[in-house]
Subunit: 329 residues, 2 copies
Amino acid sequence: MSQQVVPIALRDLQRPVAGELERVVDELRRVIAADFPIIADVNEHLVRMKGKLFRPTLLLLSSQAAGAQDARAVTLAAVVELIHLATLVHDDSVDHSVLRRGMPTLNALFSHQVAVIMGDYLYSRAIIELVRLDDREPLRVFARVTNEMTIGEMRQLEAHDKLAYSEEQYDQLIRAKTASLLSGACEVGALQGPAAYREALARFGMQLGMAFQIADDLLDYTEAEAVTGKPSGLDLREHKVTLPLIAALGAMPPADRRLVSELMAAPEPADALVAQVVRCVAVAGGLDYARRRALELAQQAEAELDILPPSPAREALRDSIAYAVERRS
Amino acid sequence: MSQQVVPIALRDLQRPVAGELERVVDELRRVIAADFPIIADVNEHLVRMKGKLFRPTLLLLSSQAAGAQDARAVTLAAVVELIHLATLVHDDSVDHSVLRRGMPTLNALFSHQVAVIMGDYLYSRAIIELVRLDDREPLRVFARVTNEMTIGEMRQLEAHDKLAYSEEQYDQLIRAKTASLLSGACEVGALQGPAAYREALARFGMQLGMAFQIADDLLDYTEAEAVTGKPSGLDLREHKVTLPLIAALGAMPPADRRLVSELMAAPEPADALVAQVVRCVAVAGGLDYARRRALELAQQAEAELDILPPSPAREALRDSIAYAVERRS
């Protein structure tokens, strides 16, 4: 068992930007507003299922910590959440997911078609809003990040030879799929600050994002459905290879490797087989390895913050690392 | 029977910009290039199935006719084709189409997932390229147009009460779905020209685009599969209500209206029923009405060109109207 730590509540690290975060939701509503009935319905659903605003939080904290004094920060924070939402909507459609944040996905509640079109709608609204700001830099960062995310999604589809999937490929995948947007959020927040702060925060976001995704992938092995809202072992069930399995494979006895092969070959693996592989991964040290790797990235992220002047926002960014690594859902 | 006209070949109207059009394909390749294997495969397929480059043609002709002298015209022409491609890829995925331009669609050849992700990939590449040009105007036009197209797609999904669908709703739909991008192509081509030319060409593109879509919807009633590459009556089969049917419904005897209701209620209407409704629409004057409306829009489009100085490009734009209205596939 890992030692007990006092979990960091998201609300604590949001304190320095609490007032702005409240305005982010109104700004999000404004940017996606439509007078077309079904789009308005879908938007209402999206605003209700809005998550923890982790990306807007990072953007606003980065802005404050870099002394960026950016009047557009609330709008940019709404845009980063909007891009995140557009991505989730298409991801759920691609994965045929039925639940997201404990609520039905758009493809489940409306239809697959509505989900594809709404993702495009949200993304094009984000671009319109960025064009209105009349500054090339946020557009440049977010356009690059969005493109990287699509490449990440494609990498995920293309992992054919499951047992040969390397840690390097996994790193590329989580950088593109998850970390690039967190890095973009931090970078865009700091755009009006000194270049050195901006670059450090972009690196901070990348390392934080990788740690965040590894923690997420670990949860799939460690937490019960009641906590995460997703069935345990779901990634394995869907033949998604993540760090715990990659790390474990090298240390597994041949019999256990055969179980993994069997699972990867089964179109719909039985619950018992999934549970067996989860145990094998733990026994072979896969979970410990992934935890160590997440902590290593967390330490790198933390070191990037040293360049910033002390401030409540910098401390909150530091706490966001603990939040990303230790969260339970 | 309508009188025989000498059909305008696309190649004829492309003559004033033939050299630039050749470079558009290379530019398209450059913009979508990826070093990731499956994306490269998909791109190869997309370049092979590239259409007639009608939107790049309009952009380049508009640029020349407006005397815009825009060194970026070839890049902008590639971008408008790229946005069109991204839209087609998502449309095919939404409609579960298996053929496009006589070739398999991405969702048929690869998978539904690949199609959704590739649409996002192509669109974000288009944005990256526009950001590189460092000019807000093309971005502003194309971001607005892309958003309008998503609203058009949603309108199409949402046409619930088929027999009450009005011509006004149809006009809104084809403006958003088709005409907005043609209008955007003409406007962006003329961006560096005088404001009056730019505005006239934006209106020209909108009217041309509406005429183009009406002609397309007419083909579904008039042409055999061998010519268009799509089964005849496909729109009816899919319960899509277009102008010929809208115009015919008001003039139909009750027995024929009942046939239409029957077709709209049938999940998979029989061939005989589809053929019967096609005949009823013709008898009630639906095809003639749609042809008159397309010609009216064509005349309005033609009048917009009067403000431009005489040039081979202006004449080619005039010919593009005939091409849009008279094409057979």
